[in-house]
């Protein structure tokens, strides 16, 4: 049988032009554009072939009121129970506030049958985390199905950025997802350079990439504490949270902010290189100790091993990204290019795709990131702050600590006409339910944490 190669779906979103709606679909090897009539716009679904197109299409429907045909899931995505029937991303929608509509119940996707019951979790959770809803269909302890419903933190960022200048937009873009702030800023900066025709200075680029790796180290360290904590091993959290705090304090020392807000700019000042090396050496020693210690705790591994498995085949089918993908043996990393390799990047992989793989992968990536940081250390430098930007479409890809981040900006008359960002979480969330199939509900927090997806980034 001839095997048809499946492309990887990166994003699918709509843009409103003066006389039509344009749906842009980005694959790893091509870009497709479909123009839809403004009267009664209808789009053929690609979700039967690309499962993760589902959320993209449901979002297009909510945002623009474009009808989707041939999809098995037509529920609203971004608009919740009391959201009025509006299409806020249409250009003629300019209301600044919104009146709640009557309550229309949302239909969860559940399994029915004798003895099967549902467990609803969220949107407000027990711990200190972002809001989201998880609807479990249970057969006793065993999870039969999980329906995820998000977009509680939907802030209308795409619309808010319209008609602002590219330079002004930065403050909001860096606040889309706090843990990935530097990654978002890098995507923004890349687009600024593309649109102004200014060349990326090598030293500046190295500094920006250094910050990005530091962000990754912080996020991974945080997870190294929280994942075992969700398996009931609190000592790991106490230890790893010290390391992530140390690194956060260090990030502030370097760039002035604990999350790196405002740190990606047109200039890099002189910084203390030895200080970075010293810091990394101490940190590396501590991480090695941590690794050495935790591999010997059997009770942790008996919870980690074989829990929340996503096999490679499914990982491919869903086009998952970042840590989740690499833990399942899928080699996908935006950093897999010459520039990074020159500075010591080695793509890290695991094979099994369970919680243990994701945990081990994070440790490996921390080591590689620390090596990259050392090699990114360089002299001060700057590029001229651009003032003029050419109209057009721009795209950028950055590997955030979660995975491949994609940002699209269309400039018209010197201001943003359409902004769209596809956080890696947007894809990975859709694959999360696959990891639950063989597990019990008590494993859910552990599995969820091992993926550490962003709610805010995917909600926009």
């Amino acid at each position: 049988m001839k095997q048809i190669k499946q492309h990887r779906l990166i994003a699918r979103f709509a843009v409103e032009n003066s006389d039509n709606f344009e749906v842009i679909t980005i694959f790893d090897d091509e870009i497709q554009r479909e123009k839809l009539d403004k009267q009664n716009p209808t789009l053929m679904s690609i979700s039967p072939k690309y499962t993760t197109a589902t959320w993209f299409e449901r979002k297009i429907k909510d945002d623009f009121g474009i009808k989707i045909e041939g999809s098995y899931d037509n529920r609203p995505l971004v608009h919740h129970e009391r959201f009025p029937t509006l299409n806020p991303l249409r250009k003629d929608f300019q209301d600044r506030s919104l009146k709640f509509d009557d309550f229309t119940p949302y239909k969860y996707e559940v399994v029915k049958g004798e003895g099967v019951f549902e467990v609803a979790v969220g949107p407000v959770h027990a711990g200190i985390i972002e809001p989201g809803h998880f609807q479990f269909s249970q057969e006793g302890e065993r999870i039969l199905h999980l329906d995820i419903r998000h977009f509680y933190t939907y802030r209308g960022i795409e619309k808010s950025l319209e008609n602002t200048s590219l330079l002004e937009a930065r403050e909001m873009i860096e606040r889309i997802s706090g843990n990935e702030s530097i990654a978002y800023q890098l995507a923004w900066f890349d687009i600024v350079l593309q649109a102004s025709g200014v060349e990326y200075d090598e030293k500046l680029k190295k500094y920006h990439c250094l910050l990005l790796e530091l962000e990754r180290v912080i996020d991974h360290l945080t997870d190294l504490g929280f994942i075992p904590n969700d398996a009931g091993f609190g000592a790991a959290l106490s230890f790893a949270s010290q390391l992530s705090e140390d690194t956060r304090v260090f990030l502030k020392e370097l760039c002035g902010h604990r999350f790196g807000f405002g740190s990606v700019g047109f200039e890099v000042k002189e910084y203390d290189k030895d200080r970075i090396l010293d810091f990394l050496n101490v940190l590396e020693e501590k991480v090695r100790w941590f690794e050495d210690w935790i591999v010997d705790i059997p009770s942790v591994w008996s919870r980690f091993d074989t829990t929340g498995t996503l096999n490679k085949q499914k990982a491919k089918k869903y086009g998952v990204l970042g840590v989740v993908a690499r833990a399942s043996g899928k080699r996908v990393d935006t950093r897999d290019n010459l520039f990074y390799k020159k500075h010591g990047f080695v793509l890290q992989n695991e094979t099994v795709g369970d919680v243990a793989s994701r945990f081990k992968l994070r440790i490996k990536e921390i080591y590689n990131s620390m090596r990259l940081i050392k090699n990114f250390i360089d002299e001060p430098s700057m590029v001229k702050k651009p003032v003029k930007f050419c109209d057009g479409e721009y795209m950028s890809f950055v590997e955030s600590s979660i995975g491949e981040l994609f940002v699209y900006v269309k400039l018209k008359d010197g201001v943003i006409d359409r902004f769209y960002a596809r956080d890696p979480s947007f894809i990975n969330w859709q694959a999360l339910y696959l990891m639950m199939k063989k597990d019990i509900i008590a494993d859910f927090p552990l599995i969820n944490k091992s993926c550490d997806l962003s709610y805010a980034g995917s909600d926009l």
């Binding site: 919740h80 009391r82 959201f83 509006l86 806020p88 929608f93 209301d95 600044r96 506030s97 919104l98 709640f100 949107p123 407000v124 027990a126 711990g127 200190i128 985390i129 972002e130 809001p131 977009f151 509680y152 933190t153 939907y154 802030r155 209308g156 619309k159 808010s160 403050e171 909001m172 606040r175 889309i176 997802s177 706090g178 843990n179 702030s181 945080t222 000592a235 106490s238 949270s241 010290q242 992530s244 705090e245 956060r248 304090v249 604990r258 999350f259 807000f261 100790w289 050495d292 210690w293 010997d296 705790i297 962003s454 709610y455 805010a456």
Partner: protein, 169 residues
């Protein structure tokens, strides 16, 4: 586990020598005595994230790390509004969270206090009212205290909690 205890002895108690922040110690002492007086030694906080970027939550999580170790002062983040004295509200109060925030508040036993965290809830930062953002004022609930910052650093949150205890009671 031997390794762990060795390390534990080497490290001793990290909160004791906070090189990077001296005055935190004083704030903490004061805070502990205030909580002892006003909340019988235990202040229960329910964190509600209502449309934030997650940095404010990350800073709240940092409060439990061994450097700040808020639990030692009698401050607990609790899992249910029914156990809480204070709702710590972060985020812009999105349209999709609006009714859930109200619900949390109404489940809290009275007297219940609201502390807003970060620039988001009062729309002082980059996010302003729009079709998806309501802001905490729209809830029409009494807000007892506000902690500024984007995000407020752990020390500022601790300071803010102390100010709340001072002004409010």
């Amino acid at each position: 586990m031997i390794k762990f205890w060795q390390r534990r002895v080497e490290n001793s108690i990290v909160t004791r020598h906070l090189e990077f922040d001296k005055d935190l110690e004083d704030i903490k002492k004061e805070l502990k005595s205030k909580i002892a007086k006003k909340f019988a030694g235990s202040l229960a906080i329910r964190m509600v994230s209502s449309g934030s970027c997650n940095a404010c939550e990350a800073e709240c999580n940092a409060l439990s790390n061994p450097y700040y170790d808020l639990q030692r002062l009698g401050i607990h983040f609790v899992a249910s509004p029914r156990h809480a004295d204070v709702m710590l509200l972060s985020g812009v109060v999105s349209v999709n969270m609006y009714h859930h925030v109200l619900e949390v508040y109404h489940q809290m036993p009275q007297p219940a206090y609201i502390i807003t965290l970060g620039d988001c809830p009062l729309l002082e930062g980059v996010f302003k009212e729009n079709f998806a953002i309501k802001g905490a004022d729209s809830l029409k609930l009494p807000i007892s205290h506000h902690i500024r910052g984007c995000p407020p650093e752990p020390k500022e949150i601790i300071r803010g909690l102390l100010d709340f205890l001072e002004d409010f009671m």
